[in-house]
Symmetry: C2
Subunit: 391 residues, 2 copies
């Protein structure tokens, strides 16, 4: 019996994949203003983990069942549309700082009171940014925008929805007008009825193996692996949910959050080849078209499959390993960014990516100890061991 079910609602549309790719390429910050010194290293991790997890999601989904798909497709088109149908006012190329009355009017035209509707603040704010860009206005920050929202919708309430520890703020009581260019069914009054007949349990599910059915790789403490398994399972579920809800900005941030947040005592087992390979096996399994791992016995499988999988192209992997090393380091130097492109192209090397994520994380945690001397030697010694274990 699966202890966790992943809702999947059809293949990821190309538009979404494009956005994800763009997100990876751009490092997540579209306007440059939020960039920080040192972002390069973050991007390394984010790119890799994004590739890995998105690959998992991509291959994990079932055939479409046709539920609620049209609405989602429409929403992408709207968001990706080039032209607002009727911009409130068009200034001739002059960038004006900000206009509260204009924003209030825009709010009136596109949103309405809607009891029972929850819309993420980030979604409305994204719409607002779009509105500002199309009208040559400099947007205000989220806090100030919130004040404007509450000027217009005095009775709006707060909700914090999302899985444990990852709740996001929502406005409760605001819906998108049905004729707005930003219309999305789930965020409007109309979506209230439809949502009830779309429970996640009726959707095709992606089942993870039950922990009891999995025989663990030798040498890995059972307790630690259980912890990691739980975290990773939840992680995948959340990535799924983010993508399903079209909150692609969240995906990147969340991935960073997850991989950076792996506790130190779990780092050790992540260094273990067997665990990495087990994750890889799951990905591979989903890729082959299975949505459940339950129908096949899992005992003993990880070890055998992992070796078989490893042998497939061990030379290339090592080759690629070194290659990525060079590029990653080059990018840490600030020399270039073409490596990201390469990493995307080498999507087939999911295991490599996963392994690299781990390596990166390990390196960085090491680096954070900031020992003044002998750090250099220690690092090379550590890397040496790591490299051997990859072989």
């Amino acid at each position: 019996m699966p202890s966790c079910q992943l809702a999947s609602l059809g293949p990821i549309p190309d538009a979404v994949m494009d956005e994800i790719n763009e997100c990876i390429l751009l490092g997540g910050a579209q306007d440059g203003s939020e960039m920080r010194i040192g972002a390069g290293v973050h991007d390394d991790v984010a790119s890799m983990t994004c590739i890995h997890s998105v690959a998992l999601c991509r291959f994990g989904v079932d055939t479409p069942k046709g539920t609620a798909e049209p609405a989602r497709e429409t929403s992408y088109n709207i968001m990706g549309g080039e032209e607002m149908t009727q911009p409130v006012m068009q200034y001739d190329n002059k960038v004006i700082p900000h206009s509260t009355p204009l924003t209030l009017r825009w709010l009136s035209e596109n949103y309405e009171f809607a009891e029972g509707v929850c819309i993420p603040r980030s979604v409305i704010y994204k719409h607002y940014r779009d509105f500002c860009q199309k009208n040559g206005m400099t947007p205000v920050n989220p806090a100030s925008f919130g004040k404007i929202i509450r000027q217009k919708f005095k009775r709006v309430k707060n909700r914090r929805l999302g899985t444990r520890g990852y709740s996001t703020y929502h406005y409760y009581g605001i819906g998108i007008r049905s004729f707005s260019v930003y219309y999305e069914e789930k965020y409007s009054r109309n979506g209230l009825n439809n949502r009830t007949n779309l429970p996640s349990t009726t959707a095709p599910i992606l089942e993870f193996p039950n922990l009891q059915d999995v025989s663990l790789p030798v040498g890995v403490p059972h307790q630690l692996f259980c912890s990691f398994f739980t975290m990773y399972r939840t992680h995948c579920l959340r990535v799924f949910n983010f993508i399903y809800r079209n909150e692609l900005d969240e995906v990147k941030e969340f991935l960073q959050h997850f991989w950076k947040g792996v506790p130190l005592h779990l780092m050790d087992i992540l260094g273990s080849n067997a665990v990495v390979n087990m994750v890889g096996i799951w990905v591979k399994h989903f890729k082959d078209g299975n949505t459940s791992i339950e129908d096949e016995p899992w005992d003993g499988r990880p070890q055998t499959a992992s070796t078989e999988c490893n042998k497939e192209g061990v030379d290339e992997i090592i080759q690629d390993d070194r290659h990525v090393t060079v590029d990653t380091r080059a990018r840490k130097l600030g020399i270039g960014h073409s490596a990201v492109q390469e990493m995307i192209e080498s999507l087939g090397y999911r295991e490599v990516c996963a392994r690299w994520v781990l390596r990166l994380l390990t390196e960085d945690h090491k680096g954070q100890q900031k020992a003044i001397t002998s750090e250099l030697l220690q690092r090379y010694r550590h890397e040496g061991n790591d490299f051997c274990s990859v072989l």
Copy 2:
């Protein structure tokens, strides 16, 4: 007439300098838990700017006037003390998660209601962390600690003090008991009277040149320079204040904040040699024992002085320049951290440091544009020009 006055209250005690050095060496995070991937690059900037600004403060201060010095000295000793006189309870090496009753008792023993006293939250929290460490407890996060504070002191009020845009949260109504090991006069009931006869205007001041009296380097837009000058002046004032208030943690964070926050359109003039040298001249001037720049005419001085200053040891500077390049890049690779030590030893090269801060910032802003192709070429081209302009 100076438009801004810097309060300075004697030379920086060795204890403070030690802490600053430690802060630089450790990268600011004492427990490692707040470290993040990519912190290395932040540290580069922080170290440099810290050296630069601290040097400015160090050389800018006047002879001590003996006001309130004893209290400050005492406080350093207290904070640096090895042993609490009477720990509430001593567990034998076992790390226990957390104990609210213990914390409440500790609060009662060390703090009291004190109308009119403002104490920064960070200060109390630092004390609490110290208390936890000494008693083998895992401290709770600041938010949860705040709840405990309000359990004990129900009438505490909030204050946000600090210069514009850099306010920090304070508790108003809590003072440190006079017999506490954490006692500091300014944060206790006794400090209330003393503070009134220590207005910053009566303290020796460090005067910046008035903008009208400064003839700008050629080729630098007046408007841009004025903006930068205002920012830099405020920056120095704040660094002074932080050090005076013994809030050394703030110093590092603030320096990062300032240098990272230089707007893009000011980056250009910071790339200008003349501006960098002007800052360098001020530092040099203060170093020579002057607290005011007003008594000497400033017309035309920047250019001449800058060249003279440059010629002093241009070879060494370039030599050092390359040296720092290597080390900085090495550290970005995560190879080692001894470079920080070197930079501290080369404190004499303040101008070089300043220049390097600018270079680093420029590089990073460039890097954040994340253009996929031709970034490499562009960067080298840019660096080439930059290097020439240094010569």
